[in-house]
């Protein structure tokens, strides 16, 4: 019996056609390869191939922008999972939540992760904004990226707000009712706001009705919020995120030059 040669076996494996077809070439740790690694990878190339030293420091960045993005990705993945089992109609929505919790494999975990990640994302966005302010990173030439960031903040809140309604429980509809009731008081456009007589708005035709899709919160609101939550706002947010990341890539991390 021949002696088992580990190295020889390994070589045979890595030399095999199957292995080579997948990995093509070995990884050689050279500066060139490091740069190639970033620029050649669809995900990593959001980064510049080189960054300032301080940009790597957690103490400087708090990592909050990245965490926000990560949590966004988590909500997308768990959200898609939840979409498989959730029907945005008043008949089914609440029952589907119950089935999600009690029945679906990992349903409860996915729902929990979705919800807590969403909350975490709001907090992470705020901390990110706070950090950016503290390091003055909105200053030229990054003014516009700050504006994009504020838009992303608003989109994050809207994403969370529209998602709040979907469980269709008491917490949902009353939180959304209270939140949306503000729109009723919009000057000119809300039927409860000052000067609403000027445009003649009424409860079924005003700013709040635009949000609700009707005079009162109801099944129509649920569908509207579902589409906003699952399609519209994620798309818009992704677009702005792309801009946001691209600006960072172009402008580099802020820092003393």
């Amino acid at each position: 019996m021949a002696k088992f040669d580990w190295k020889e076996t390994k070589r045979q494996i890595t030399d095999s056609q199957v292995w080579q077809s997948i990995f093509r070439h070995g990884y050689e740790d050279t500066p060139r390869n490091r740069i190639l690694m970033v620029s050649g990878n669809v995900w990593l190339h959001l980064h510049p191939s080189k960054v300032q030293k301080h940009a790597v420091r957690m103490r400087f960045t708090w990592c909050m922008g990245g965490i926000t993005f990560l949590l966004f990705l988590v909500t997308v993945v768990t959200g898609v999972y939840l979409m498989f089992y959730y029907r945005p109609t008043a008949e089914y929505a609440y029952a589907d939540m119950k089935y999600l919790e009690f029945d679906m494999p990992f349903g409860m975990l996915m729902r929990n992760m979705h919800r807590w990640a969403a909350h975490g994302m709001v907090i992470a966005v705020w901390l990110h904004m706070f950090r950016v302010f503290m390091t003055g990173s909105y200053k030229p030439p990054r003014e516009f990226n700050w504006v994009v960031g504020v838009i992303l903040l608003v989109l994050t809140l809207l994403l969370s707000f529209t998602g709040y309604l979907l469980p269709w429980d008491q917490l949902s509809i009353w939180a959304v009712t209270v939140g949306s009731n503000m729109a009723r008081a919009t000057p000119l456009l809300g039927h409860g706001g000052p000067f609403h007589e000027v445009l003649g708005v009424n409860p079924v035709y005003d700013a709040r009705a635009f949000i609700f899709g009707g005079g009162e919160i109801g099944p129509h609101t649920l569908l509207r919020f579902y589409i906003l939550h699952c399609i519209f706002f994620p798309l818009i947010a992704s677009l702005f995120m792309a801009v946001h990341f691209w600006r960072i890539r172009r402008d580099g991390m802020s820092g003393p030059l």
Binding site: K53, A90, E91, F102
Partner: protein
Amino acid sequence: MAGRPGLDPTEEGKSYSALFVLMVAVLLVTAVWSIWDDSISRRPWKEYQVQWDRLAYDKYMKDAADEQKRLDADPEYQKVSKELAQARIERDSGAIAARLAAMRGQLPDLKNVANDKDQLVRFTKSYLTERWYDYNHAIQERQDPGPYKREIDQLNAELARESIVSDKAKDNLQAVKDQIEALNSKVASRTDQMKKLTAKRDDLLDKADTWMIPVKFRNTVLFRYPKIPRIEQTAIDDFDRNAFDEAIARVDRCQSCHMGADKKGFENAPEPFRTHSNFDQIILKHPPDKLGCTPCHDGQGPAVSSVRVAHGDDPDWDSPMLRGAKMQSRCIKCHIDVGSLHDAGGKPIAANWVEGERIFEQTGCAGCHLVAGYEDIAKIGPNLKLAAAKLDPSWTVRWIADPKSFRRYSRMPDFAFSRAQATALAAFILDSSSKNSKQWLAAHPEVATLEADVKNPAFVEEGKGLFESAGCKGCHAIDPRQHATPVGVVAGFGPGRAFTAKDFAPNLGRIAEKTSAAWIYAWLKNPHDFSPHTAMPSLRLSDHEAEALTAFLMTHGKKREFAGVETALKNPGQIEKGEALVRKYGCFGCHEIEGMDKESRTGVELTTFGSKHLDELSFGNRTQIPETWDQWTFHKLQSPRLYATRDVEQVMPRSRFDSADIRNLVVFLAGLTQGTVQERYRMPGSEHQAQIVAGRRMVNYYNCVGCHIIENRGGYISRFYPGDQINFAPPVLNGEGFKVQPEWLFAFLQGPTPIRPWLKIRMPTFHFTNAEDDTIVNYFTALSDLNVPYMFIDTNLIAPAELAAGAKLMTKDYFNCFSCHQEGDKKPEGPPSGWAPDMALTHQRLNPDWVLKWIANPSALQPGTKMPSYYPGGPDDILGGNQDKQIRALMDYMFWFGAHPGETLPAQMATAPVKSEK
């Protein structure tokens, strides 16, 4: 690496490997934890199912073993198994075995040959089909089909040839098979017999196998594993409606743990595996695979994550599982007639609810509280539009201030009025009724002799006798410590229990204090004249009897006046104050009061009280009361103004319910919930059920149960007829609808005629309207579940032979019926306690079907009756000793002589065919 140009040596030198490994390890642990959490922590029902599998397996295996023991002792089983063994031995030995082996050896070859030949045939047929297609196609394409036709002919010829060969091969095969079967036939038939005998055991073993699945190797069970757990659920489509009025399904998964609930035989298993109680009535009639569990039990149907959550004991779930008697409150959701629901043993299923409903109806709750379905309940208090004609002014004040001190068990609740408030109220009531009262008094001039007669001891004595015997005591007590008909539970005396059940009708112990002799007389003569809606019937008293009764009643109580009351009651300020108080406290809920006919109820609507949330119930300053719906309601009923605070005034009066009453009321109130069950899930409400509910309400309103036992309830008067006297008590009316003819009952209720003339107690006249009368008649026929209750016998069609036989059977030599039964005017021998009704009344009063059953076995219809059952078999010398024919003859004769009073049996009647029509 450090030396490489363009690289930062400090950064290059750092390694995160350890941290990375640690993180990945933690991530891995988290992932494993997630899987554990999802498949085990959140799914405790799996463990229950595994437990169940073992339990069910053990039980079925034990049952199978028992069955096997029974079989071993069964001689037939022994015989068949012996024969089977014998047959096997015969088959498997000697020449037969050799023949069998030989033939079995031939079989494969024969099969192969048959298959090959058959395949040829099938292929040829397939070609044929193809050619036919080509042929048709050619015609449709206007080409020449000729060549195809030729091929078809050729193939047909081939097919014919091959078929002959193939059939022969098949025949050969079948012949051998038949021979094998013939040799095997004895074993086969015994095996079949065996299977029939062991069917039950095999079924039990199969059942055992479904729960612990065997892994077998050559018929030996190597090991068993429990059935893979799976959620057992029932989806009840469109059962509920959500807040947006959309039909939504309800999903119940209770049986994922309660595996034995719908299976018999687990009565003694531990929960959650026990068989449902009352299996036949509840599970068989409400199959859980169609109706689920939560429609009756509440709880959180879809939840299976923990026992607590599944049972709905969760702040975020509104309907926790109902426990104890409260479960009865769900019956009304689907059943119209909850009162008739009984378990297999005849015990009412919703006794607490039924009693709660009755208390609700009879203590006047509906006077102040609107509840859908109970809007039309008559006011329970006396009519006050003529109050001034009836009431003593001083008494009125005292009464309003404290009713219970005058009548311990009055239905009038305690409003805790001050003396000043009572005076004001009395002032208003007497003033508002004064005009009507004057008119009424003018129409009822006082009887001249009344005053003198009332004081006559002879009259008093006679009145006493009347009071005792005429039936007054069915509704009224006169001993201040006694009930006649109680409303609610009679809890007896004792510390803190002095005021419990209420009297249906006033206790007359102090009647003279309240009113005048003239009024009593007028009232006794005709109660409806004074109060058209009263439940008090007319006893058809003669003037003399009425005077005597008045005299007797006037010995109970003494007028007590106090000074200045007259002037206080005339004070316009007081009257005005009184009116305001009447409106505030809603006196018109129970009494008719002049000028207040259109007032709406003062209490809170209770139609959906059962679904009230805790935050809708104010506990006021009562911190010691646990914050639950049950506790709030219980204490509210016990002391209604308990939750009042400075800002929240409460006006609900106190009814002094016994705690048992309150518990019943709580069950009833718990049933007043939001949301209705969809029509298709409800018990189809038959006409009978509606009739029963309406009739029962009327029977309660007029207190028929004071004297009669109806639906096994009531007959309160019977305790005045101890022992042998029971025959003098009013009749039991269980099964009355089947017993009597509806036309007779209708007429009887309109104007009662005596059936047992020797009784002193009399059926009073209630002045029922035709509609009310119908309600009662329908109630009785519905209770007996009769669909066509009209019956008739043409006595002229009865065969004379039959009449003669009937007459003979009644004689002394046979059943000697008139030993007890009255015969026209002729009274039977012996004391009246042994007498029975006149048989001549039968033909217009009784249902012939009932009479037949009654003669055959009276105890079955009326347990404890003195009427003996027909002697089984009857005499041999009449109608060929046929019992049914004899009973029929008795019945026919009875109807005949009722319809032909005074006639003797015609000696020579034409022999007509025996015919009796219903």
